[in-house]
Symmetry: C2
Amino acid sequence: MERGRGALGPALELVHTGRAPTRAVLTSELGVTRATAGAVAAELEALGLITVDSRPTASAGSQGRPSHRLFVDEHGPVVLAAQIHADGYRVALVGLGGRIVATTSGCGTIPADPAHVLAEAVAEGAALLRETGRRCLGAGLAVPSAVAEPDGEALNPLHLAWPAGAPVRALFLRALADAGIPGVTEAIGFTGNDVNLGALAEHRHGAGRGARDLLCVASGHRGVGGALVLDGRLHSGSSGLALEVGHLTVNPEGAPCHCGSRGCLDVEADPLAFLAAAGRTPGPEGSLLHQAADLLRNDYADPGVRAAADLLIDRLGLGIAGLVNILNPDRIILGGLHRALVEADPERLRAVVADRSLWGRSGGVPILPCSLDHNSLVGAAELAWQPVLDDPLVVVER
Amino acid sequence: MERGRGALGPALELVHTGRAPTRAVLTSELGVTRATAGAVAAELEALGLITVDSRPTASAGSQGRPSHRLFVDEHGPVVLAAQIHADGYRVALVGLGGRIVATTSGCGTIPADPAHVLAEAVAEGAALLRETGRRCLGAGLAVPSAVAEPDGEALNPLHLAWPAGAPVRALFLRALADAGIPGVTEAIGFTGNDVNLGALAEHRHGAGRGARDLLCVASGHRGVGGALVLDGRLHSGSSGLALEVGHLTVNPEGAPCHCGSRGCLDVEADPLAFLAAAGRTPGPEGSLLHQAADLLRNDYADPGVRAAADLLIDRLGLGIAGLVNILNPDRIILGGLHRALVEADPERLRAVVADRSLWGRSGGVPILPCSLDHNSLVGAAELAWQPVLDDPLVVVER
DNA sequence: GTATTTTGTTTAGCGTCGGCACAAAGTCAG
DNA sequence: CTGACTTTGTGCCGACGCTAAACAAAATAC
């Protein structure tokens, strides 16, 4: 009864992204018959990826026989996700549905040598796998740098003190092999930029769900990154270097940037710029984002803070308007400090973008704060889950 | 023997884009068996879309039995394509493969009233259909304006003296119905921006063939337009308004633009700007492009012309570099005056773009002149062909 | 309690494609 | 010229993945 092979992947993706709570929805979303949907669900259940709750559901209103409900299997396999950031790393086991099963962080570690940090992070992941006894189907890594394809090199890990061009994917794969992660015997490890992966996670499980063309802009501690999801797929360009939005000019008379230009988004709309505009002395590099976000959340009544926020919103709005003119997305999600900015004053940024973009006057694009904790980490997991979503049958051979 | 239904569309697309000269290539490109490829080719031939030449080909070198060759059927059905521009319109019948079968132009007409111009153009198309006796499977229209989805309104037909927001798609459909185009009984008419459609045509049949992420930039008589083809599909954004590149800032101290900013690409890198920089008095609006291009081609030795060209290349290069940082395309194609610019000095523009883009230092993106005559027209035809390429069986019901 | 609606399951059947065998049409070596 | 080899085209069969249709199950509506 090997029914429903071709629809297996799309079906799992629907359950994974929370868009198929029942077999009935699966039927209509996939455009297949009930028979096929049932067979697909049965096979996914047999593969240990989803569970079916056929108890007499606490029916809600509508007529007819109530649907059995479909869940991602809470005890199913996981993938290993790791994120490197300015002040340490974070590792997690992530199940289908973007659910974080277990997590550890190594904060305070200065990640000077990439190989060393990756080995440490992967070792923590291996420990989590041993503790939980979960089966591991892959691994993904998020780094705060552009990652060049096809070799997976970190081109500008400026805030990590890594050498430019560090071959992070190769190092990550090496670390996975050395740690003897069970199930990851082959080269099943993926690496991407943290903002890109955060955007992917938001699109699948967060504020970006349902958007067709999703633009994300986010600050780290220093600088500004962007990402674009088109038709459910990350657009990272032909060499993985798309959406380098940090060097859009937003203030022609602004501060000089290391790129040689002046008034780039990178130096005009990041946490350091905000703290300077608000007249505060910045703390250590690895805490700038939290310092700025806390200031914004706690002291928004302070006129100086308010003025600094307004200035940043103007600059950011100009940059985003330029992106809107080029990309015409149907939703925009902001992360990092920009998330705090849009939460502090949702209307002002929308108005600036609508005013500065060419066709924004009639409505404008929805601009939302990101909605997931650790979205880069979840996005790294998405990368690792992708082969399974493309063809769920690969799980039998791992 | 109804074999090869699912692969029918991809197969026709391969022949259409000239990437499947033989059944053998079809087999490998589609990833199917020879049996399936043969059945697919037979069915496409039965549909009257392709022809198979099974004569003993003037074999070229390699061993084994020579392949029969596949051609687009020269006498097969066509689509009607129309293009409206500043100084008139052009109409053509376009077959598969982007081949223009018959064409007329109505130059000198000032297209003041959109309904009138479209009716006239479509009437010419109907006449061509009668003369040639071809079967018509659809119609496409290219206009020099952003076209808003989902209603198909021309938002900024600045150079046509049309009212902003003119419902061009509806008017086009009305004109098709009124002309009684045989085979276009239903609403099978498509409308798009001319630069977008030109990019689509270049990607399928011209200098963009084989590119994955293709960026096009082109000037008309006034202003600059852009277009992006991703994975073979035109990216026109969620509302059809993507790639409005004319208002990228390329000269902070530059001339004021009607958008309210200064130094936009629109006013710094179009034919008018070039003529001004070269110290020539511009002719009538509808001839600026030809005047500028002729000047560039014939008087490039003139120091003033040379200096004006260098200035324009610098400005254009800065704008393109910004796009490269955001989109990371693997090829760039230039049209209009910019085509003449890159033909005059291919190396300079490449160098400017590489220097001003973040990761361009290691090589840079290939920048090519467009290679098709009337690429917007051919692109409009592509729009009309798309339903047939998606499912060739639709031809039996038209 | 019966009719209606919606969902899940079983069975039969069909269409599409892969695998295989064989034929056809060329090159290459002698 | 002949035979071995290589590559392409085609006919046949079976497997796989789906639809269609009938039936069963579980709720609401009257």
